[in-house]
């Protein structure tokens, strides 16, 4: 993915002491659980390798998940991380740093594009492996083993929730960034000629976009001291009363600044709808084609397009 600073998921997810406590409460992680986890440390030390191997057995058996670990170096690195992750479950400190570490794990999985189904599927195997090891550890005492497993399951679900929150936050982050990019691209104001600007509008115009268009147009008109702004709506699929109203507003505002609007790209169907809807566009200079709009704009600033060599046939002049 792109370089740069990772988003601060702690902040985005509002993970402070209180929130972490609420989460512990909801997952029913109590002081007993934490002390039990700490007591299981020797168990963890004894079987972390086996569990990791077992987990990667599953992962490497399926091409879809195997694809994430293309070479031996990567594999041994992630296995090392997996061991560390496992031991961390029993470290005895469950604070904001612990949470931050979990978010990092989630973010890393999201970054490499690991789909949630693989992530969850692997966790299922993980828990089964832990259960097996626990039975061996407690020498067949089902009661002890299931108590320990219940605790481990709590902390693992707690971790999974954090990882998923990171997944979702990362997706939202990407979406927000894309929306911003689209917004920026959606109002390109082009200088066509001295004091003539052009704004081609492509795509649907909702209220938010209409407001943004108006703002951009007004600021650009003043900044570039434009006399005319051509708004081309050939790329707007539907021109309804709302869109027409937005255009009228923008036109009026441009007039207040002391400039004029020329509206172009009015297709036959747009002309029909506008009249059928009873929208008055008469206060705006309108043309079907952009080229005609440019001619109108030029004539407003006292210029015109003329043929280089005067020919016998008459020019565009009527």
């Amino acid at each position: 993915m792109e370089l740069g600073i990772q988003p601060d998921y702690m902040k985005i997810l509002k993970l402070d002491e209180d929130e972490v406590k609420r989460r512990f409460d909801f997952f029913e992680l109590t002081a007993d659980d934490f002390s039990r986890l700490t007591q299981l440390k020797s168990f963890a030390d004894s079987c972390t390798h086996e569990i990791t191997e077992g987990l990667y057995e599953l992962i490497m058996a399926h091409p879809e998940s195997r694809a994430f670990f293309p070479d031996g170096a990567t594999l041994s690195r992630v296995k090392r991380m997996q061991n560390a992750y496992f031991l961390h479950l029993f470290s005895g400190t469950y604070d904001l740093n612990y949470v931050r570490d979990r978010l990092r794990v989630g973010a890393a999985h999201e970054r490499i594009g690991m789909p949630p189904k693989l992530y969850l599927g692997a966790y299922r195997r993980y828990l089964a492996l832990i259960h097996e090891r626990l039975l061996v550890h407690f020498k067949g005492s089902e009661a002890e083993a299931s108590k320990a497993l219940a605790t481990i399951r709590k902390i693992i679900f707690f971790d999974m929730a954090l990882a998923f929150d990171t997944y979702i936050a990362a997706y939202l982050e990407t979406m927000t960034r894309h929306q911003a990019a689209i917004r920026e691209l959606s109002t390109p104001v082009i200088k066509v000629y001295d004091r003539i600007l052009l704004l081609p509008i492509v795509g649907t115009v909702d209220t938010q976009r209409a407001n943004q268009i108006m703002e951009t147009v007004l600021v650009q008109v003043v900044e570039q001291q434009a006399r005319v702004i051509i708004i081309d709506i050939a790329g707007v699929p539907v021109v309804d009363t709302k869109v027409a109203d937005h255009i009228l507003q923008t036109t009026a505002a441009v007039q207040l600044l002391g400039a004029q609007t020329v509206l172009t790209g009015i297709s036959a169907s747009v002309a029909r709808t506008v009249i059928q809807l009873g929208v008055e566009l008469t206060r705006v200079e309108t043309r079907a084609k952009l080229s005609e709009g440019i001619e109108v704009a030029l004539s407003i600033v006292g210029k015109k397009i003329a043929s280089k060599k005067p020919k016998k046939e008459s020019d565009d002049e009527d």
Binding site: M214, E215, L218, V219, V221, V222, Q225, A226, R227, Q249, T250, A252, A253, V254, Q255, L256, L257, G258, A259
Partner: protein, 125 residues
């Protein structure tokens, strides 16, 4: 008598008022009065109101300015409002106030040019 809070300058045949202070209702009423008296006194044919310093305009002020232009017109004086800020224009149209019939220009320079054109057109009639 001019209340003096907004100076009105005479440049050739044109009056220029540059609004540099916040327009309260009372100020704008006094301003309107000053302008009309000044037109009466000087017989100027053109008026330019520069509002480039105004960061916000409410509907009362907008209406007062538009009305001033109409009153001046009755006295034979063409008004051009210059230098409106983008945010002000956006607010006015969103309030549904289009100030129709009021001439506008981007800058003082353009306002003067437009004013000269208007005077020329009036003379040639």
């Amino acid at each position: 008598m001019p209340s003096g809070s907004i100076p009105i300058l005479k440049i050739g045949p044109t009056l220029l008022a540059s609004i540099q202070i916040d327009l309260h209702d009372t100020v704008v009423d006094a301003f309107q009065n000053d302008i009309l008296l000044e037109i009466e006194k000087s017989g100027s044919r053109g008026l330019i109101i520069d509002i480039s310093a105004l960061e916000s305009v409410d509907s009362y002020v907008a209406r007062a300015l538009a009305n001033t232009a109409k009153m001046a017109k009755l006295m034979g004086t063409e008004t051009v409002i210059v230098g409106m800020r983008p945010a002000v224009a956006a607010t006015l149209v969103r309030m549904g106030y289009y100030m129709s019939g009021v001439r506008t220009a981007l800058s003082l320079q353009e306002g003067l040019e437009l004013q000269a054109e208007l005077l020329k057109a009036a003379e040639s009639e």
